[in-house]
């Protein structure tokens, strides 16, 4: 009798939480490209992948890209499911060449608002890099996390 009660209770609790599998996959990196530090300044890559600078930074021809992600709930017919994005806070992300660092802030994403279409959505993320005067040369890299809270 006790076993039966326990089994019923477990079955009832289990049926309330069945959902399709939500995923967020990174497809590409955020690349600020090649440049000369000069007297320093900032470099911004927009979610559209456009690069601009302020101050004395000299941009050079190179590959530049916004980071891209695919949000999906793996249900092909789903539309209008919200996929709002949580981005890193200012002061939490840096790039390093092994000895020197640069801060990456002002993260932005597109599209806003984010909603799935056909159960999926491509999300792009840009940010702003701060370059010190005469920032040391080299290849800098770092990583950051993005979260989608499916609605």
């Amino acid at each position: 009798m006790n076993h039966l009660r326990l089994l019923l209770a477990v079955l009832l609790l289990g049926t309330g939480c069945v959902q399709a599998k939500q995923t967020l996959t990174n497809n590409g990196s955020l690349a600020f490209g090649r440049f000369v530090a000069g007297t320093g300044g900032t470099i911004t890559v927009s979610p559209a992948g456009l690069r601009t600078q302020t101050g004395g930074v000299i941009l050079l021809p190179s590959t530049v890209s916004a980071a891209t992600f695919t949000a999906s709930d793996n249900v092909a017919k789903d539309a209008s499911i919200g996929c709002p994005v949580t981005l890193p806070a200012n002061g939490t992300v840096t790039l390093s060449n092994g000895t020197s660092t640069m801060a990456v802030d002002q993260f932005t994403s597109a599209p806003v608002p984010c909603t799935l279409s056909g159960g999926t959505r491509q999300i792009a993320v840009g940010a702003t890099l701060t370059v010190a005067p005469n920032q040391a040369r080299g290849n800098y890299s770092g990583s950051f996390s993005v979260t989608v809270n499916f609605q």
Binding site: R5, L24, N26, S29, I43, L95, V125, R137, S145, N149
Partner: protein, 180 residues
């Protein structure tokens, strides 16, 4: 004992009904997914160019007029003039910057002539990256060494008129380099 079990069952059934009602009224839970991405940047050493040696055609006397040429190795050839012993040299420039980087080379802005007062002689440049004796054509791109350096050698030709007036003629080479 039988009575006890019936009494014990009743509260459980009530509790079961209550919990079904609660689950039915609950809204759909939201779920989160997280992913990481890489961010990169590449800072390069600024490119710079400085002159090491001037282009010197040296001294000569005009006979019938013609050309005086200095090749990128500094050797002088001529027509229609008589050369006089003098210092001659090809120009050379030292480029520094990011190891192994490629760059463009331009001499736009160089004076079209060497000038002495109102008198001019047309100047045509020739250049290479290895002082190989080039007399025509200009190198348009270079590649810095693993140490981030490269030299550019510049020679040229002067058009000397038959009645070219005597004098000290001067001009300037403008050499510009840019990462590409």
């Amino acid at each position: 004992m039988f009575n006890k079990s019936i009494a014990a069952q009743r509260p459980f059934k009530l509790a079961l009904i209550a919990s079904i009602a609660v689950l039915g009224a609950a809204s759909a839970p939201s779920f989160a997914a997280t992913a990481s991405a890489t961010a990169t940047a590449n800072i390069v050493t600024p490119i710079n160019v400085t002159k090491t040696t001037d282009l010197a055609f040296g001294k000569f006397v005009v006979t019938t007029g013609g050309n005086v040429t200095i090749d990128t190795a500094g050797a002088r050839t001529f027509t229609g003039v008589t050369l006089l012993t003098s210092t001659t040299s090809a120009a050379s420039f030292a480029v520094t910057g990011e190891p192994n980087a490629t760059y463009t080379i331009s001499t736009a802005g160089t004076t079209a002539n060497l000038t002495s007062g109102a008198n001019t002689m047309a100047l045509t440049l020739a250049s290479d990256l290895n002082a190989a004796g080039t007399t025509t054509g200009n190198v348009a791109t270079g590649t810095l060494s693993a140490g981030g350096t490269q030299n550019i050698y510049v020679g040229g030709s002067l058009a000397v008129a038959a009645a070219q007036p005597a004098g000290a003629y001067t001009g300037s080479i403008a050499l510009a380099v840019d990462y590409n």
